[in-house]
Amino acid sequence: MTQRVSTGRLAGSVAVAAAALMVMAGCGGGSGDSGAQGGAPSGADAAPQTLNVFAAASLKDTFTTIEKQFEQENPGTDVTLTFAGSSDLATQINNGAPADVFASADDNNMKKVTDPGLTAAAPARFATNTLQIAVAPNNPKGITSLAQLADPANKVVVCAPQVPCGSAAQKVEKAAGVDVKPVSEEQDVKSVLSKVTSGNADAGLVYVTDVTAAKDAVQGVSFPDADKAVNNYPIAALKSSKNQELANKWVQAVTGPTGQQTLKAAGFGAP
Amino acid sequence: MSGSVGLSLQASLHRAGFSLEVALDVAPGEVLAVLGPNGAGKSTLLGILSGLLRPDSGHLRVGDRTLVDVAAGEFVPVHRRGVGLLAQQALLFPHLSATANVAFGPRARGVPRAEADERARELLAQVGVGELADRRPSQLSGGQQQRVALARALAPQPGLLLLDEPLAALDVDATPAMRTLLRRVIRDGKQTALLVTHDALDALVLADRVVVLSGGRIAEQGATRDVLARPRSSFSARIAGLDLIPGVASAGALRTADGVDIHGSSVEVADGEPAVAVFPPSAVSVHTERPSGSPRNVFRVRLAALEPRGDTVRLRAAAPDGAPAWVDGLAADVTPAAVAEMGVDPGDDVWFAVKAAEVAVHGTHT
């Protein structure tokens, strides 16, 4: 990963922004549909091969590990990882963000990219994830089942139904016949987790991998109906990539044995 | 109009680089002018009187009330002093009509609205803007605003009125009328007042007495005409800067004590009233022979001194034998070339001439 921003890059960014402004000022009309076209992979940095990977936020730890192995096995390669919510990433890719690979946390958001035909090949599933109840260490409220989350004495935080972890939560609630009354429906799973780790909520519905990644900060409580909502993680190289070969190599690294091992260690289920 | 009261002040105030040390008295109904260069302490003096500044030591009495007595720990805040202020800027409350501005003081003292409004309208009529009573300040000219401000300052019937260069910010056109109004309202109303000004004419027309401040001390004081006609400090000489001839008004002219008529244009002064004829030294021409021709005032003088002043030379006159005393101290500004051409020296007798059009005759106090 590159940490420093070279002056060349900075100058490039300024130039792009200025150009965008000029264009906007010049042509009033048609700027509605096309977003800033091609965020300009600023300067063809000649030296090493670079790979831009857009990945769902929940993949942060695992992909960072995989990146290190990948760069060792492919000397002269510089992988840049961008983590964000899957829908944000899908929107960015659809608006011309310079990504080579996209790894989504659900099929829905991958579909947003496959529908306009932006992927180079059909997406491959590389992991699954299920929900777990996150509670404070030592489980002070003694929460052992999903049903207890319906108790108004417990402050529960879930994801909003509009995002993948929230729709998963809805599915398991329905399957278990439980109607959770959350105090907040968060935008993403990390926000749910932080509400629990900060002690502001008693329990939250998050992915198993989030509990694993949080280490001692929270404790995970499994429940029977978790398997009613299994999240699939698809990955695909993108058509716009200037280095298809390297992009495919990354996809293989993730779906291959070492990648799978890393994912499994983090709590992901097999595809 | 007001319960005319006197004022007695003795105060000192010290700040970094400046100190004020004054003692002054103003009799009931008297107008005292305070003259002085910038930084002389005029504003500080006003601040102490109005209550915006607290002196380090001393006392202030207005009428029978002690407003400040530092030793006794007495300090009456601004709003309980009954000391009015008319400043250079009218500072009318922009959100209130002229009437409401004037009624503000009485209202603040608990006068019922109808009564306060009525008094305000009377005062506005008195200062000559009765027909503008409902206007907002932004709809008034500078001169009109200052009239309203005067009415407003008078409305609470202050025991003492402070005038802080009340004419300095007005248009040249509006100044004479406002000066006349102040003279009428303040002097004829026997309003005790303290007038800070830069303008010798203001002092001359409005004040009974003058105090000249310099470096925080009183440098000179006395009857207005005396101080301005025979300035003893360099400042009062400079500020006077004008030639003055005392007398009484007489059919648009001024008649001196010895019966000489000085021709000029008079400004609201009735025949027989005490007055002065005023003109700038630059309007005086100097001749070695008695000039003749167009209507002008001509005086025979003896040159006392020649003072170079930048581009001009000021010729200062003394009275020659047998000439009236008022000639003493008159000044004329001429070019160095003219002086060289005439070849005059101190001790020579010459003629000063000034056109009637350059002479203004103002009423004064006795």
Partner: protein, 275 residues
């Protein structure tokens, strides 16, 4: 074309021609994206999108919380501005400057940071929040009160800045005149100071209200997001965008309209120009 390079001594008599170029670009930067929203909008579906329960709930919540927060800004920020502009602390001359710097902090701080700070103070495990929870069983986060606190936090500086500016511009000369006319400090404040700074106060209130309506970061990190309780319009837009872009665009336009109404209707007409 003649280039007039200096206009230093004249006011309102012509501009350097080139000024129009950056000004046009600047205007386009603001106007065109909004125009883009209009192009993107699904006008046929607009009524149903805007009249959905969640949209109406969010709009109602936004208007109510913004109004309450603006009132709190006035209640507490108003006196704060007066003190910053007028107080004389002879013993501690630096104190006011220090207070001002802190009061202005939310202007430069990312709102998310403000939200986190509020959470650490008033959250269930926070400095004050723990006490509230133990003593009264009150938990602030996830409540409408938290939304109001977050909005007040970010909006108060706007009111303080404009009001303090108005107070400084007005100066104390009018109050001094009022005092010489016999008005007590309280009366002078009511009858002179307040009317004089009314335009500045009004624009401060409008700015604060607008800031409250647009508040997102501090709210989502401190108050959470729950329909009818804490999910204000901006939070709903952000969430809606995940699943339904046209819904998000419709709600965005609603926010644009509300903001325009606030700016156009609420923008103070100076009392100084005309009566």
């Amino acid at each position: 074309m003649t280039a007039r390079t200096t206009v230093r001594h004249e006011t309102g008599v012509g501009l350097p021609w080139w000024m129009w170029i950056p000004a046009t670009i600047g205007f386009a930067l603001i106007a065109l994206p909004v125009f883009g929203l209009l192009l993107r909008a699904d006008w046929a579906a607009m009524p149903s999108l805007l009249l959905s329960d969640s949209a109406l709930d969010a709009l109602r919540l936004s208007l109510i919380t913004a109004a309450v927060s603006t009132f709190l800004c006035l209640l507490f920020g108003g006196p704060l501005a007066v003190i910053l502009a007028r107080a004389r602390l002879e013993q501690r001359p630096r104190l006011l400057g220090a207070i001002r710097s802190i009061v202005l902090l939310p202007l430069v701080l990312p709102p998310v940071v403000g939200g986190l700070a509020l959470l650490f103070l008033l959250g269930r495990t926070g400095l004050v929040g723990r006490g509230l929870d133990l003593a009264f069983g009150i938990t602030v986060p996830f409540s409408t009160a938290a939304v109001i606190l977050a909005q007040t936090f970010v909006a108060m500086p706007f009111l303080v800045v404009s009001l303090e500016g108005a107070l400084r511009t007005a100066g104390e000369r009018y109050e001094a005149v009022a005092a010489t006319l016999g008005a007590s400090p309280a009366l002078a404040f009511r009858r002179v100071t307040v009317p004089l700074v009314l335009p500045g106060l009004a624009s401060g209130l409008v700015l604060a209200f607008a800031r409250c309506m647009g508040e997102f970061g501090a709210t989502i990190s401190f108050a959470g997001s729950l329909e009818g309780t804490t999910r204000t319009l901006p939070l709903l837009v952000y969430l809606q965008r995940e699943s339904d872009e046209s819904g998000a665009v419709a709600l965005s336009l609603l926010l644009v309209v509300v903001s325009l109404v606030v700016i156009v209707v609420g923008r103070p007409r100076g009392m100084d120009g005309r009566g």
